[in-house]
Symmetry: C2
Subunit: 118 residues, 2 copies
């Protein structure tokens, strides 16, 4: 294994964003620059009240979101810093997709002959 | 919120693949059709022996991998079924990237005026 390949597939995917439900929430918000109401976000991401609240709290604490209240309505918007970090994450995700879709040409063939199932 | 948008951002990302380290392992193996030796995989994914072993076990039990032994060498290869599920996952990941990079035009503007920080 050439040294230059060290960590070639060690992707830098921030866990706070990578979690499946939060990835959906952030993508929704990236798509709606002027924000989304709690109930709309809940429908778009198909989450329960409790689950959505919990994930919003995590994202707010990590600086990704602003959460605004007006009477019984809650509005969520991405922060500029959150958007920047989300874009970095998406660029890394694109790298995963590109790697997966465009495998390198085969190197030295390594037949399984001689290997026994573990 | 129109009914047709229900679940629009609820991505179907299998947790067994989505975990960051396992995503790296599977992408490495998708890229090397004839398999990878344990030590090469460890370098490519920048994982410790213990971590790699643990993730390989999870992926093997979930049917993604074949693990072969020959004296002190271990060879890992993707199964045909594993490749199929991985490709489905990557297609969904492409959908995330596409959604994130091509936000819809703004709808009705929703100013934060009138909302108070939560």
């Amino acid at each position: 294994m050439a040294k230059r390949n060290k960590g070639r597939f060690a992707y830098d995917l921030q866990r706070v964003i990578h979690e499946k439900a939060r990835l959906g929430i952030l993508t929704s918000l990236a798509t709606h620059a002027d924000g989304l109401l709690f109930n709309d976000l809940k429908d778009l991401c198909d989450l329960t009240d409790g689950n959505l609240s919990r994930h919003l709290q995590v994202l707010k604490e990590a600086g990704f979101l602003e959460v605004w209240k007006r009477s019984r309505q809650t509005l969520c918007r991405m922060t500029p810093g959150g958007r920047e970090r989300f874009e970095e994450y998406i660029a890394e995700l694109e790298r995963v997709v590109k790697d997966a879709l465009h495998p390198k040409k085969r190197g030295k063939s390594r037949p399984a002959g001689g290997f026994a199932p573990a």
